[in-house]
């Protein structure tokens, strides 16, 4: 979707402000919001692409006004409600009012290390040969789905070169909609900065995105 999250090339946000000796968290609630998000993700009630979509589909004015862990927390609240795991009236009074709904898994402390170590690999056995090889010229498709996609706006319609073939991976556009993994070939596609931003752009800069095969046409 063309949400506020798709920020590549936007103006007006000001300089990057690194913080010296930055701690991993800046408040206790950030620690808890982070851990709750990871632990609830481990229940298997939604997948990573669905949690990304829950965040990026926040109304733009909310997305831009929130800090990053506020966005995570808002995404978590939305998913909990959408799955019927926590109801709005429970959130309003800050206590459980309804019986729990069974969840597929519960992340126990004893399983944290192995669960994090396993992660969530997305590579899958290909069923078709890759359509493109390194060096091929491709054009990113001009698409504007209202659903989840990982093709940023700033490369749509632009011509680049296949720089790497990453193998066959779970396709987020399908996975986020609950339509299964629908694995697709994934490529690093490299664009000249001038192709993306025009003749005034830095001639020494090249930008690559990781693009799934359905995002690309031969050029």
């Amino acid at each position: 979707m063309n949400g506020a999250h798709d920020m590549g090339g936007m103006h007006g946000f000001g300089p990057v402000e690194p913080e010296p000796n930055e701690p991993p968290f800046h408040a206790e609630w950030e620690r808890r919001a982070f851990a709750l998000t990871v632990a609830m993700g481990a229940t298997g009630e939604w997948n990573l692409d669905q949690s990304r979509f829950a965040r990026e589909s926040l109304p733009p004015r909310e997305y831009l006004a929130k800090t990053y862990y506020q966005i995570w927390f808002a995404g978590l609240e939305r998913l909990l409600q959408a799955r019927g795991l926590v109801a709005a009236d429970e959130m309003a009074v800050a206590q459980a009012l309804h019986p729990p709904k069974p969840v597929r898994r519960r992340l126990a402390a004893a399983d944290v290390v192995t669960t994090l170590g396993r992660g969530g690999p997305t590579v899958r056995q290909p069923t078709t040969p890759a359509r493109f090889k390194v060096g091929d010229r491709v054009r990113a498709r001009q698409i504007n789905p209202p659903t989840h996609t990982r093709l940023p706006r700033y490369v749509r319609g632009r011509v680049g070169t296949i720089a790497r073939v990453h193998g066959c991976h779970v396709f987020p556009d399908s996975h986020a909609q609950g339509l299964g993994e629908n694995p697709q070939w994934l490529y690093a596609v490299r664009f000249e900065a001038r192709e993306l931003w025009g003749p005034d752009a830095d001639a020494s800069a090249k930008v690559s995105v990781d693009a799934f095969e359905p995002y690309l046409d031969p050029a």
């Binding site: 590549g8 690194p18 609630w29 609830m40 926590v86 459980a96 090249k206």
Partner: protein
């Protein structure tokens, strides 16, 4: 936020969806165990050991796993080597994808709108925000992490470090140098 998060945690705990001890362990892991010191070890090893360097660039995931760094948000690693004529820089314009096992959780600036918006359109301007000025003829490659591939920059080994051990070299490797928004420390910047 403190009250809202605490309220939700108590609801989720009461319903049995989360184990509070698991939450504590998740926090402890990313606050004390996993961090850029992991990536620094990988980079220092690549600087010190040419055979490891070749392996790291050819099969990044296996080479990084051999040092013990695997798992969530680092399932599919790609190491990118800087050269005197090429500088790599990593961003996630769409969210905050970041190689957790080697760098820990991302800093606020990495997740911020200024970085996500400008890294792909004005990389030299962003580098200046970090106090980094590269020669005009250095090619800058920006890698937007739009899928599950996670990138680790292997910065140029600083001069004057011949014969240094991996442990000594690791002290030169900063988090930002492995994202590509900084350069490694120089020998005189680390205490003897």
């Amino acid at each position: 936020m403190q009250l809202r998060v605490r309220a939700l945690e108590s609801i989720l705990t009461e319903k049995g969806y989360v184990d509070p001890a698991a939450l504590d362990l998740l926090i402890e892991t990313y606050e004390t165990k996993v961090g850029p010191h992991n990536g620094a070890r990988v980079v220092a090893k690549a600087w010190a050991d040419p055979q490891y360097r070749r392996w790291l660039l050819a099969e990044s995931g296996a080479a990084i796993a051999s040092v013990g760094y695997i798992g969530r948000q680092g399932e599919h690693m790609v190491a990118l080597e800087n050269t005197p004529k090429l500088h790599n820089m990593v961003v996630c314009t769409l969210c905050s994808c970041y190689p957790w096992p080697v760098l820990g959780l991302p800093p606020v600036w990495y997740k911020s709108a200024p970085y996500r918006s400008r890294a792909v359109a004005d990389p030299r301007g962003v580098l200046r925000d970090f106090g980094v000025e590269l020669p005009a003829d250095t090619e800058i490659r920006i890698w937007d992490s739009t899928a599950e591939m996670r990138y680790l920059v292997v910065p140029l080994r600083p001069e004057g470090t011949d014969g240094w051990s991996e442990e000594e070299l690791a002290r030169l490797v900063t988090r930002d140098s492995m994202i590509g928004t900084g350069l490694p420390k120089r020998p005189h910047e680390v205490a003897a």
